[in-house]
């Protein structure tokens, strides 16, 4: 059917050398998933966001979780590729284009997630017409678009440089700017949450640096998975020694991230009072599964990273995936956790718009996770990721992302 015909057509194009039929099937499948996502989004807009699990007391959900997560992935990827360049480190050049492209894709997806979360996407233009520069969301929009543009320029400059145009110095400058925006983008995203005094769980100064460390964890992990996969697929080669360097880096970042976590929990719990509530919620409350998956997953990643014997390719992939999943869990904890502790939870009228499960009392609603996504949200999220895969694969197929001589 359409997949096969598309794949067949794709197979004829010159760039199809790499991956051949496989990548075409992948592209076709991704396209189908994307279309399904678009249809679901249309349904969401016409039937209303009521079809999601979000409600007045848990007013953000999987979309914003995914947004946070993807901003992290993207920033991490870019940092990983630009740091060696910025500091003139050798050996990583080969991965930088792949990493940047991955970042670009993630950024596009992150923006996509904000858009699908909006009630009135057709009013997006107002962001530019009536911008309230005091709003962290506005900052994020500015920083994200800058970042997207910077990443594209950086990719373009890298490709140019590798094709013998442009100077290494210019590339370095661009990479430094990209690095700064990457750090910024993550901090600003953190501030969307961290500047809100309304949610005890979010309102911590640590949130920005912590977002950056988490970004590094999952960014490096993603790049690791991608390059190991691409290496296997024969798309590129990378010395194992460099992979190991990255794995160690991953281990370090994981430790930093866990360290931040410990700092935060301790600061919350130590004074007693409502901070203990936050800790309880994570350690033993409704969010415990996400907490423990993150903590244990990241710990395993760290072990794999630091025990030389364990640094085999399959285990590296496992460790990286664990880190990615762990950071996703962290995002879930953060988002849902923010709503899980309401400031005012006295009994009052409950309507179908109050909270996801409005059938019992408020306390019942908070007994489990206050928010859980509905099928349409999973569908749309899948659609967005499908679109990401599509972009990624199209990039691999049509952009010259393979390392060249000059990459190194």
């Amino acid at each position: 059917m359409s997949e096969t015909t598309q794949a067949a057509q794709a197979a004829k194009t010159p760039a199809a050398k790499f991956g051949g039929r496989g990548i075409n099937i992948g592209i076709a499948a991704a396209a189908v998933v994307t279309v399904i996502g678009l249809v679901l989004w249309g349904m969401q807009l016409s039937g209303g966001l009521v079809q999601t699990g979000m409600r007045n007391l848990d007013s953000w959900g999987l979309y914003i979780t995914s947004f946070m997560f993807l901003v992290g992935l993207s920033a991490g990827g870019l940092i990983i590729s630009s740091v060696p360049r910025a500091f003139g480190m050798k050996g990583f050049g080969g991965i930088s284009k792949v990493a940047v492209w991955t970042s670009i894709c993630c950024t596009v997806l992150a923006i996509g997630f904000v858009v699908i979360d909006l009630g009135q996407p057709l009013r997006l233009w107002e962001l530019f017409a009536y911008s309230n520069l005091g709003s962290p969301l506005m900052w994020d929009i500015i920083v994200l678009s800058t970042y997207l543009i910077m990443s594209i320029i950086y990719l373009w400059a890298t490709v140019r440089y590798e094709n013998g145009k442009g100077s290494e110095k210019a590339l370095r400058v661009i990479s430094v700017v990209a690095l700064v925006t990457a750090v910024l983008v993550h901090s600003v995203t953190a501030w969307i949450f961290g500047l809100q005094q309304a949610h005890e769980f979010w309102h911590t100064a640590l949130l920005a640096p912590w977002f950056v460390s988490s970004a590094l964890v999952c960014g490096v992990a993603l790049v690791l998975v991608v390059i190991i996969a691409l290496r296997r697929a024969g798309y590129m080669a990378l010395a194992q020694e460099n992979v190991v360097k990255m794995v160690k880096l991953l281990g370090t970042f994981v430790c930093v991230d866990l360290y931040f976590f410990v700092c935060d929990l301790l600061t919350s719990a130590f004074p007693g009072g409502s901070g203990t509530e936050v800790v309880n919620m994570l350690v033993a409350g409704p969010l415990a599964p996400f907490f423990w998956v993150e903590v244990v997953g990241c710990a395993i990643t760290a072990v794999i990273a630091f025990v030389p014997k364990l640094r085999t390719n399959p285990l590296i992939v496992v460790g990286s995936l664990l880190a990615i999943v762990g950071i996703f869990c962290k995002r879930v904890q953060l988002l849902v956790g923010g709503f899980q502790i309401p400031n005012i939870d006295y009994a009052g009228v409950m309507t179908p718009y109050t909270v996801t499960d409005a059938t019992g009392s408020l306390t019942n609603a908070y007994r489990g996770m206050v928010y859980w996504p509905q099928p349409i949200e999973f569908g749309i999220v899948l659609g967005v990721f499908g679109f990401g895969a599509l972009l990624l694969l199209l990039g691999f197929k049509y952009l010259s992302l393979k390392p060249t001589e000059k990459s190194h």
Binding site: G47, G48, L49, V50, T52, M54, R55, N56, L57, S59, W60, V114, D117, L118, G119, Q120, P121, R123, L124, E126, L127, A129, Y130, S131, N132, G134, S135, P136, L137, M138, I141, I192, L195, Q196, Q197, A198, H199, G338, F339, P342, N343, I344, D345, Y346, A347, G348, V349, T351, P352, Y353, T354, S361, L362, T363, N364
Partner: protein, 209 residues
């Protein structure tokens, strides 16, 4: 032009949690099914009008909560497009449905859980008529709304709708910037509180305790 700080007082000693103010708000503002800008909460057990404690050592109080029209509103700061904003002349925190992009930043920024509500679908009116005042703006799908301090009434020189209907005579309205107003007098004379003062929002709704 002199600035006012219009606000409300609820006397918790006189409030019996009857929801009359909530119902007037609902009718006056044509709030769709499932939407309550003004809600009665029970400080007590897990359900409305249930106490805390163990029989027979019990306590129960009522709190009516709607937008607090904060002097330093958390919601206004975060709105990317200025769809929620503070009217400088009156201090009323307003909401522009036509502008709202439905991002719900304001909902998560507001510390007063539940005072803002989002129209998660096309507003529903099972009785097929628009109730309340003709000058209330039409409700829209996928935008955030909340207590407007009955802006349409203020514009006509009237008090908000919820004030005078209170069977307990527990609600008062006025300008806190006017030292001679009833509300200023009440908070001079009576013990009172604001909700979540540590949030730094400085609400213009006071509760007499």
């Amino acid at each position: 032009m002199a600035t006012q700080r219009l606000g409300m007082i609820v006397d918790t000693k006189r409030c019996v949690g009857c929801s009359t103010c909530a119902m007037m708000c609902k009718s006056e503002n044509n709030e769709p099914e499932g939407i309550w800008w003004n809600r009665v909460l029970t400080i007590g057990g897990e359900h409305l009008t249930t106490p805390s404690g163990t029989y027979p050592n019990l306590t129960m109080e009522n709190l009516t909560v709607s937008c607090q029209h904060c002097n330093n509103p958390a919601c206004v700061k975060v709105c990317p497009v200025g769809a929620t904003y503070k009217d400088e002349e009156t201090g009323v925190v307003r909401q522009d449905y036509d502008k709202c992009i439905g991002c719900r930043m304001c909902m998560s920024a507001c510390p007063y859980t539940g005072v803002r509500s989002f129209n998660w679908e096309e507003p529903k009116y099972p009785i097929g008529i628009d109730t309340g005042d003709a000058d209330v703006p039409k409700h829209q799908k996928h935008v955030v709304e909340k207590c407007t301090m009955c802006w349409h009434r203020l514009a006509k020189g009237l008090q908000p709708a919820c004030i005078e209907v209170c069977p307990g005579r527990a609600r008062h309205f006025g300008d806190f910037n006017d030292p001679d107003s009833e509300v200023s007098r009440l908070i001079r004379e009576r013990e009172h509180m604001q909700l979540l003062p540590e949030m730094g929002t400085n609400p213009s709704v006071y509760y007499l305790v």
